[in-house]
């Protein structure tokens, strides 16, 4: 299958700093990819390159197109929500739907109205009259009414309360996602998206620190909870990262067989958040 996104040596420079440093990347269709990294790691720079919003060096192909030259054509198949607050504030909801319908050949007014009917957003509202959560709902309704192949969400729920956040991801998963579509999400609230992800990419200092499917993550990584007296034995197995919680030592291992660990204490699959901290602080990938 042809990949949705394919990058070779993708690089983005701002002056002398390398925001994205020779990234190789391949995202197949039908995946939900979490792009996770600390602030300034290059997530947004990479996404902007993918969306044709920035220049870059290296090879990049999105749905077989060159995003820096063919942004308009690409946007027929790609949707993105860059931030919760980017809908123009002066516009009326009905006008927003009219203009999207006029420009986007794959936009379905009926579906958009269906999604909006489940919210408190009305056609007469102006965007500036809506709360942050309602703006996010409106934007999601617009985007879900577009029959696109790639959806890119860059911190789509930033500043929203937990109710809106949950609902946002629920409707995304239930009403939108299928095997034909690919979603790339960046967010700092990893705990909220980890159960919907199929793939995980960690970015640090413009480089990919980890790229794996969630199944691979489950197979490769293990978290071990041990009492202090066996800590040294656990340490001897070469953990990626170690921390202490309520007098217990927690070790995170990469590629250590579970049989060897099981005797020492309690075994878990680590959460994405813990794995992230371990990868960022532990160094090795």
């Amino acid at each position: 299958m042809t990949p949705i996104v394919s990058a070779r040596g993708l690089t983005k420079r701002y002056g002398r700093t390398l925001a994205v440093d020779h990234i190789d990347l391949e995202i197949p269709p039908g995946r939900i990819v979490g792009l996770v990294g600390p602030n300034g790691a290059g997530k947004t720079s990479a996404l902007k390159a993918i969306l044709g919003l920035a220049t870059y060096d290296g090879e990049l192909s999105v749905l077989g197109k060159d995003p820096s030259r063919q942004r308009a054509a690409l946007m027929e198949d790609v949707c993105f929500i860059a931030d919760v607050a980017v809908l123009p504030r002066w516009i009326r909801v009905s006008q927003l739907i009219d203009v999207t319908e006029g420009i986007h050949p794959r936009f379905s007014r009926a579906r958009c109205l269906e999604y909006l009917a489940e919210t408190k957003v009305t056609l007469d509202h102006k965007v500036k009259q809506l709360s942050k959560g309602m703006v996010a709902q409106l934007h999601l309704a617009l985007v879900m009414a577009i029959d696109a192949r790639l959806l890119v969400l860059d911190e789509p729920t930033l500043g929203l309360d937990i109710l809106y956040r949950k609902q946002f991801y629920t409707s995304l998963l239930n009403d939108y996602f299928d095997e034909e579509r690919t979603i790339i999400i960046t967010t700092h609230q990893v705990e909220e998206i980890e159960h919907i992800l199929t793939d995980l990419i960690f970015i640090r200092d413009g480089r990919i620190a980890l790229q794996a499917t969630m199944e691979e993550v489950e197979q490769r990584y293990a978290e071990l909870l041990v009492r202090p007296d066996v800590a040294d034995a656990a340490r001897a197995l070469g953990p990626l990262y170690e921390r202490e919680l309520f007098g217990r030592h927690i070790f995170l291992y990469d590629n250590v067989s579970r049989d060897r660990l099981a005797g020492l204490g309690e075994l878990h699959t680590p959460s994405v958040a813990d794995l992230f901290v371990a990868t960022m602080k532990g160094g090795a990938s």
């Binding site: 902007k48 969306l51 044709g52 919003l53 920035a54 220049t55 942004r71 308009a72 054509a73 690409l74 946007m75 027929e76 949707c79 993105f80 929500i81 860059a82 931030d83 607050a85 980017v86 809908l87 123009p88 504030r89 002066w90 516009i91 009326r92 006008q95 009219d98 203009v99 999207t100 319908e101 006029g102 420009i103 986007h104 050949p105 934007h139």
Partner: protein, 315 residues
């Protein structure tokens, strides 16, 4: 085409105040002033004696005289519309590629499959065609309402408005002249429109400053260097822009043509063009060398604006 129309719609919605409300307010002011002057006259002159005399005198004039002056009055009353239209277009273009960068909604607009070229084109078309058309239509509506009021006044003093002016003055000719003048001016002023769009596409803040300061600094330097060289003060950017306005096909001033004071195209300060308000004189400007040079400059500015727009994001 459907996309372009949608984009033009979006411009209209965003700038409804400037594009629609402004001309309506001017039309309203015209009508209110007409009514106020009628009430003032009626207040000091119960029998409307002066007005009656004036109408009688006018009716005695030959039809050609009334036709010519009627047209002058009709065209002359467009002046205020034209000047305000120029301001509206100026500020519209300054904000056209700036506002959505400032409020970051550019990230939404760029998520739609409309090319940057189409977006810039839609903004240019609003400035060149849509805004003048709206002002023109409201101007006509205003004149129709004023003609009705004037006719009622004439009837009230016992004269016949039909024979006095309605059948004599051909409004279509004046309206047509104004429309041609508006559209020709849009082409004539393309270099300035291009400059404004260019500034709008890159200014990090206060586009007005970026639009006005460079030409001012440039012109002052020119004047200074010229003065050092020749001890005279003439050719500089201010002079060039001033001359450009004076040569424009917009109906802007009153000058002397055929020994009579009449409305003029631009301002009759030099002999480069014939300033009488005729379609031929308007086209004369569009087919001139100046226009060709102006279009070349406009093309450079617009290409710059497009290039900037292509690279623009929220940051």
């Amino acid at each position: 085409m459907k996309r372009l129309l949608a984009l033009i719609h979006r411009e209209f919605w965003e700038n409804k105040g400037a594009l629609r409300t402004t001309p309506l307010i001017i039309g309203g002011i015209y009508i209110v002033f007409l009514l106020m002057s009628i009430f003032t006259t009626a207040h000091f002159d119960n029998e409307l004696y002066t007005f009656r005399e004036a109408v009688r005198l006018l009716a005695e004039q030959p039809a050609e005289f009334r036709a010519a002056h009627g047209q002058e009055v009709m065209l002359g009353s467009s002046l205020f519309f034209t000047v305000v239209l120029a301001f509206v277009v100026f500020f519209y273009l300054l904000g056209a590629l700036y506002d959505d960068r400032k409020d970051r909604s550019i990230l939404f607009w760029k998520s739609l499959p409309a090319s940057d070229t189409l977006t810039v084109l839609s903004k240019l078309l609003v400035a060149m065609v849509v805004a003048p058309l709206i002002f023109w239509v409201v101007f006509i509506l205003t004149q129709v309402v004023m003609a009705v009021i004037a006719s009622l006044m004439v009837i009230s003093v016992g004269e016949n408005p039909w024979t006095l002016f309605l059948s004599v003055v051909n409004p279509l000719k004046a309206w047509f002249l104004l429309l041609v003048s508006y559209l020709a001016s849009s082409i004539w002023f393309l270099p300035i429109y291009g400059w404004l769009l260019l500034v709008s596409s890159f200014a990090p803040r206060i586009p007005l400053l970026f639009a006005v300061l460079p030409p001012v600094v440039f012109a002052i330097l020119q004047i200074w260097i010229d003065f050092l060289r020749t001890f005279t003060l003439n050719s500089n950017l201010f002079g060039v822009i001033g001359e450009w306005v004076a040569n424009s096909p917009a109906i802007l001033s009153v000058g002397v043509h055929d020994g009579r004071g009449m409305l003029s195209l631009g301002a009759p300060l030099n002999k480069d063009f014939d300033h009488a308000v005729t379609v031929a004189n308007i086209f004369d400007r569009l087919l001139s060398l100046q226009m060709l040079a102006g279009l070349a400059i406009a093309a450079i500015f617009l290409a710059g604006a497009l290039w900037m727009r292509h690279r623009a994001t929220d940051s």
